[in-house]
Amino acid sequence: MRHHLKRSIAHWIILVALAATIFVGDDSLADERLNGFLKKAVDIAQPKTVKIFGASVGRVEGYGTGIIVSNDGHIITGNGVYLNGYSTRVTLNNGETYPVKVIRRDSNLQLALLKIDASTPDFFELGETPAAEKGDWVIAVSNAFKVAERAEPLSVTLGILSLETKMTAKRRGTEVIYDGPLYLIDCITSNPGAAGGAVVTADGELVGMIGKLIESKETNTRMNYAVPEKLLARFLAGKPSESTQASTSPKGNSKPADLGITLFSLGGRKSPAFVDRVRRGSAAKKAGIRSDDLIVTLAGQTISNSTDYKSVLATLIPGEKTVIVVKRRNSLERFDIVPDEKK
């Protein structure tokens, strides 16, 4: 009995000591988790992201950011005129600076592949699997406004992934063909020099690369977005981007479609798509479209104006059934329609 008791006392001393260490240990651990829950991501991303300095052309800033994508000095960044000069150079995380050779550009996705003569053991391995979904934390690492010089670490900002979407956009007031998928991020990155920066998850995995400054056509606002990792991977592999493929081979060899609808042409090309006349025996007539109907959607696309109608009509394939929605008096009517071949 006494022996048992002694052993239990010994147990207790150990227990108390253990308990004490648990709670003491907890504090320091908690501090690291509390104040540095994104430290890991930043530590991973910083050495894989570089500063790029080139010539400034007019009002276009002469600097940017880039991500290292191979162990032998390949870097992807946003395409820009500042890369055209003779003195373009890259500054690594450790402050070492190297001259740059531009290997390839993609005017559609606005990407440029650069190469420096240095080994770069820290690099982002580009894959096709998305690292983040909508709502996930993302960290943007960039040299916006050229705040960091030489070996100084890049600026890090926190946000979330807002939406993965496709969209049409504008750059410097003119419409550009950018209908590739992209990640909208809820993190201000639409600033000079930020393009080419890394967007990573809370674990430091690459989500995408901060894109060049563009304005959304839908909202007329500047967009904060990232070019998804898989598009970067395809660019690195030398594959043409999706939308380029789409524009070079539009819907195979099919002939243009016709619905037999003539729209009102009042107020120019931005006027709503009101039906003026429906040709006898045409696809629209067969479907039940009447004069004065307002075309609201065609093939699932919103038709805001007559220009939209023309561009959607161009994508239709003769003989392939689709859906047209029109506004007639106080209701929306939906019709199946089979486009004819244009004569």
Partner: protein, 444 residues
């Protein structure tokens, strides 16, 4: 060592202590308590009593240590959540997604067709509206939808709505709340015979004023980027009672992409309707320029009477009182009536020249500037009490605000006095120069 194991061990110890005390009791025939007292008693007792005492003492000590550390640990979790907070932050994205999913059935995608903007281009002086769809929130089963007036800046001829289940409807604007930049839409569900088809839509739940706390998570949701899925943006509630007490301020992104969409909490309850707002200006598009500034506004609807008013088809405007005020005292404080506009609400309430206004509704009047802000808190159709001193005697009368009188488009005499109707349109603006006058007077 896990907490579970610690507690198991404690339970084990307590059981053992109980067994020991029972054993001592049986052997010596005394209770544990008496064994303590008789510690220096006969040898027979000492044998059993000493370990019992020691066990209890040790047990109490250890329990104390464990309890105190556990308690401080628990306290720490409450006062300064450590692991809980970081885990919470890392898990927050799940909450954002869940909340967004919860609110989706109450949202509609709005498309507009035609309108002046479609032809002329720039509207509102500040920024052209984009071409994308916008967001609205369902506020009644039978088809009322609240959204931001910004979405109709182009005065579209046709508006269509699409609910989350894919059903499409035509809608027409019923009324605008120009003070909150809201527009109420109604789904046109009347069949050709004029009967209303039942809609049974999912109605959004708005949070109450007490439930909304500054610093809480805020998620803004909007369909504006031309995708069927909404884009989300996160931030916190920055302030309440902004813009004459009508708006909640947030640092989550509020932009043309989500005007008319909801700002929700992490439980998917609606804090407010996202709108462009600049408290300094009443222009329809003002506030858009702040779309990526970290300052955004959402209109809470804890007062559902706003919706009821709009349902009647009457617009809500800024309140108009119809007096010209000046400071009552030399130090610039107080409000004294200089002139009362004929047939204005002020005249109807019986206000006269030289009355000193001391109270408006429940608010105490301090100076001319603050009085302008107080009037700004009221809508054009609201009623309140106004208290004033006439010859030192306090008087109270009922006051029914109205909309400002129509401004004549042709400018009156350039040299005409301040009483021209054009000067009467905006209470806040009028109070401003008056204050500077007061300052000049004080300077003299």
């Amino acid at each position: 060592m896990g907490h579970q194991r610690v507690f198991e061990l404690i339970a084990e110890r307590i059981e053992m202590m109980f067994e020991l005390s029972q054993a001592g009791k049986n052997k010596s025939g005394v209770s544990v308590g008496s064994s303590l007292i008789r510690f220096r008693g006969p040898r027979q007792d000492r044998v059993a009593g000493f370990p019992v005492f020691k066990t209890i003492a040790l047990g109490v000590l250890v329990l104390g240590v464990i309890l105190s550390t556990s308690l401080t640990h628990l306290n720490a979790q409450e006062d300064q959540p450590d692991i809980g907070l970081s885990a919470g932050i890392l898990l927050a994205p799940k909450a954002f997604r869940a909340a967004t999913k919860k609110v989706l059935p109450c949202l509609v995608t709005i498309e507009s067709f035609g309108g002046v903007g479609a032809v002329q281009g720039k509207i509102g002086g500040i920024r052209r509206q984009g071409e994308g769809s916008t967001t609205g929130i369902i506020v009644s089963k039978d088809g009322y939808v609240i959204t931001s007036s910004f979405n109709f800046i182009q005065k579209p001829r046709v508006i269509t709505l699409k609910t989350s289940d894919g059903s499409a409807y035509l809608a027409k604007p019923i009324a605008n709340d120009n003070t909150r930049k809201l527009t109420l839409l109604k789904i046109q569900n009347e069949s050709k015979t004029g009967e209303a088809k039942p809609l049974n839509l999912n109605v959004a739940k708005f949070m109450s004023e007490e439930e909304i706390r500054v610093g809480q998570w805020a998620v803004t949701v909007g369909i504006g980027f031309g995708d069927v899925n909404p884009a989300i943006s996160i931030g916190i509630v920055s302030a309440k009672n902004r813009g004459f007490g009508r708006a909640i301020q947030t640092d989550a992104n509020v932009s043309p992409a989500n005007y008319g969409g909801p700002m929700i909490d992490v439980q998917g309850r609606i804090i407010g309707v996202c709108v462009p707002l600049n408290p300094k200006s009443s222009s329809l598009a003002s506030g858009v320029e702040w779309y990526d500034s970290g300052i955004g506004f959402a209109i809470p609807l804890y007062d559902q009477s706003i919706i009821e008013k709009l349902k009647k088809g009457k617009d809500i405007n800024k309140a108009y009182l119809g007096i010209q005020p000046k400071p009552a005292k030399l130090d610039g404080s107080g409000v004294k009536v200089v002139t009362v506009v004929k047939t204005s609400p002020a005249e109807k309430a019986g206000l006269k020249k030289d009355d000193e206004i001391v109270k408006l509704g429940k608010y105490i009047v301090q100076d001319v500037n603050q009085f302008g802000t107080l009037v700004g808190r009221f809508d054009s159709d609201s009623k309140t009490k106004i208290t004033y001193l006439r010859g030192g005697k306090p008087m109270t009368s009922e006051l029914a605000f109205t909309v400002p009188p129509k401004v004549t488009p042709t400018r009156p005499n350039p040299g005409s006095p301040k009483l021209s109707p054009a000067k009467k349109e905006d209470k806040g603006k009028k109070a401003q120069p008056k204050k500077s006058n007061a300052e000049n007077e004080n300077g003299k």
